[in-house]
Each structure stands twice: as structure tokens, then as C-alpha cells.
């Protein structure tokens, strides 16, 4: 009798939840045929295009040869695991550069031909035959980018490596969640993401400004790892006669009064102390009074095609100059 009462109580609690989640999943999936949500698209990106890397310091890599329609654009991964054309590994007579970066360099939310990597390749190629290999991978930080370059990039024997650095690149290396299977349910992704947004409004220290700024406290492990990764990359490049440059990319929420000036100054000062050439392209965006005009969508502050064109234009000369030529 007691057990039956407990079972009935559990059923009364769980049954409406299960029915709601089931119906919610169906309704949300139908709604998603009409509208794109950034958080759901990022979840699909992880499911469709990412796999675990055997190298724990890299964490995840792209599934070679995979493709998907994400954030409204087609994304195709080449046989080496990059959103790029097929490239020969062995010697090339062209000036060859490797671009390292995260989802911004990957070109999240824009067509491949609209990404700054492609625009720069086209532009630099007019000046001198040039090949740019885009190693940009969503969710990477500097440590992962450097590991990936050492593991795969060196084989391409580039003349130059350019790291495109974003404010969140000082985050620690992400770990796979044990609850990753829940990402199969759109309703779970929706609730998880929206609850975090709600918390950001109500709980102090949860907004992007506070979160990103706190990454650069001197004792933050992610920032310490970032510095170590840059030191290692500089050494590797020096040993192989490769020129190294870093471009700091803007966070696109407030551009006329940039909130991360202090943090980017700290990054730039560190890089200069390591004799690494650095360019902050944020000032090239200072005239933008409506930053959302440069966003992929209202719920996604990744740079759109217009912003990619600005990044390419602002960094072109810096990237083109100097370095050994073949």
C-alpha cells in the first residue's frame, strides 16, 4: 500500500514532465524549421562536425569530410579536418600561411567565401601567389590552437602563422560533458541556454563583460595557459623559420567605447614582451554605432560577412608584410 502510494506520487510528478518534454520537443523542432537559434545550431555543430581528439590538450577536432547546414550556411570540412579547400601537404611554391583561431576564424555563420581567411587569401594572392590554410575551429582556445598547429600544421611547412585572438581565448580547455547525450534533445538545449540567459540578468557577474574581464586576472589558469601556449608557439616558429603574428579580433557588443581595452592591452603587452608582432583591429570598428549590424543574428554576436570584410581590410597590410618568401 505504501509503495503504491509512493509510485502514484512519482507518476503524478514525472508523467506531466515527460509528456511536456515530448510535446515540447516536437513543437520546438517544428518551430526550428522556420527560425534559427544560435544555441541549438552550436549544439548541432558539435553533434554533426566534431569528434574527440586523441590528444587531450586539443580536446576536439572536426570530423574529416563532414558537412552540415549550420546557422543558415553550408559548412564543409575537408579531408584534413578544416573548413577549407583541399590542400597539398607536401611542398608548395606558393607563399603559404596558416591561420589559427576559433569560431570567428572558422567563419561561423558566414559562407566560406565571405570569411576573412578566404578574403585575405584572394587579396594577397593578387599581390603574390599565396595560400592560406584555415585551421579555425569552433570553441578552441590558444592552447588548443597551438597543439593543433604542432600536430598538423608544421607538416604544411608554412612561411607564416597568424593567430586570430578573441577575448574568450583565455578560457581553460573545455572538457567533454557526461551529459552530452542530452544535446540530442532540442528542448533541453533550449532550457539550458535560456535559463543561463535569465541568470545573466539576475545574478551579478554573469554578463559577458564581467565574465570576459575576469578571465584576465593574473592568477586565472586559462590566461596562464594562454601565455604558455604563445611562448611555445613562438619557440616552435623560431625553430622552423616561420614568422608568427597575432591579430586581436573585436568583441562586437560595444565598439565606440570598447569594454575590453584593458584586457587587449594586457595581451598585446605580453606578446610584445615575447617579441611577437601583434595588431589589434578593434580601432577599425570604432565608427560602428550599431554593433548589431555586424552580428550574424540578434542572438549571435559572431561577425557577419560585413564584419569579416572589415577584419580582412584592417589586417591585410599587417599580414602581408615581412617574413621570408619562397
Amino acid at each position: 500500500m505504501g509503495l503504491s502510494r509512493v509510485f502514484r506520487g512519482l507518476l503524478l510528478v514525472l508523467l506531466p514532465i515527460v509528456v511536456f518534454l515530448g510535446l515540447g520537443e516536437v513543437v520546438l523542432r517544428l518551430y526550428l524549421t522556420q527560425r534559427i537559434f544560435y544555441d541549438v545550431e552550436m549544439s548541432r555543430y558539435a553533434q554533426l562536425l566534431k569528434i574527440e581528439s586523441p590528444n587531450l590538450r586539443i580536446g576536439h577536432i572536426h570530423r574529416p569530410g563532414s558537412s552540415a547546414h549550420l546557422m543558415g550556411v553550408d559548412v564543409a570540412i575537408n579531408s584534413a579536418g578544416f573548413r577549407d579547400d583541399e590542400r597539398r601537404v607536401d611542398g608548395s611554391d606558393l607563399r603559404r600561411m596558416v591561420f589559427l583561431g576559433d569560431s570567428l576564424t572558422f567563419g561561423w555563420g558566414v559562407e566560406q567565401h565571405d570569411s576573412f581567411a578566404h578574403l585575405l587569401e584572394t587579396s594577397l594572392d593578387e599581390e603574390r601567389p599565396t595560400e592560406i590554410l584555415n585551421f579555425g575551429t569552433g570553441n578552441y582556445n590558444t592552447t588548443q590552437e597551438v597543439e593543433l598547429f604542432v600536430e598538423q600544421g608544421l607538416a604544411y611547412q608554412p612561411d607564416k602563422v597568424v593567430v586570430f585572438y578573441f577575448i574568450n581565448d583565455a578560457e581553460p580547455v573545455p572538457k567533454k560533458s557526461r551529459l552530452a547525450f542530452l544535446a540530442n534533445f532540442r528542448i533541453v538545449t533550449f532550457y539550458w541556454s535560456r535559463m543561463k540567459q535569465l541568470a545573466a540578468r539576475l545574478v551579478p557577474g554573469q554578463t559577458f563583460r564581467e565574465y570576459y574581464a575576469a578571465l584576465y586576472d593574473d592568477d586565472q589558469p586559462g590566461w596562464l595557459e594562454t601565455q604558455a601556449a604563445f611562448v611555445r608557439l613562438a619557440e616552435v616558429c623560431r625553430d622552423h623559420g616561420i614568422e608568427l603574428k597575432v591579430v586581436l579580433l573585436p568583441e562586437l557588443h560595444a565598439l565606440d567605447e570598447y569594454p575590453f581595452e584593458r584586457e587587449y592591452r594586457k595581451v598585446a603587452n605580453f606578446l610584445r614582451s615575447q617579441r611577437i608582432a601583434v595588431l589589434d583591429v578593434t580601432p577599425a570598428f570604432a565608427d560602428v554605432s550599431e554593433p548589431q549590424s555586424l552580428w550574424v543574428s540578434p542572438d549571435d554576436a559572431h561577425p557577419n560577412a560585413l564584419a569579416h570584410r572589415r577584419i580582412a581590410a584592417a589586417s591585410r597590410e599587417f599580414i602581408a608584410t615581412g617574413g621570408a618568401s619562397r
Binding site: 515540447g24 544560435y38 544555441d39 552550436m42 570553441n139 552530452a180 540567459q197 565574465y211 542572438d299
Partner: protein, 43 residues
Amino acid sequence: MIAFLKKYRWYLIVSVLVYAAVSVWLFVATDAPQTTPFEYQVF
């Protein structure tokens, strides 16, 4: 089970409707320009 569903049908229906209403409110309340850091589902 059928008897259970019949007995508590209004409780179950109202519960589902409450969850749905909360979801719609959450959707409307957070359907605004991004204000949180980039969040990625890595896997």
C-alpha cells in the same frame, strides 16, 4: 493505468499547460540580443 489517468486527468493536463506557459514566458523573456558570453556545446 487507465483508471489512474482518468482520475487525475485534469491535474495532468493543467500541469502540462503550466509547463508550457512557463516555457513560452521563458522564450519571450529571453528573446533578446545576446548578453551572455559565447556558449558552446563542445560535444
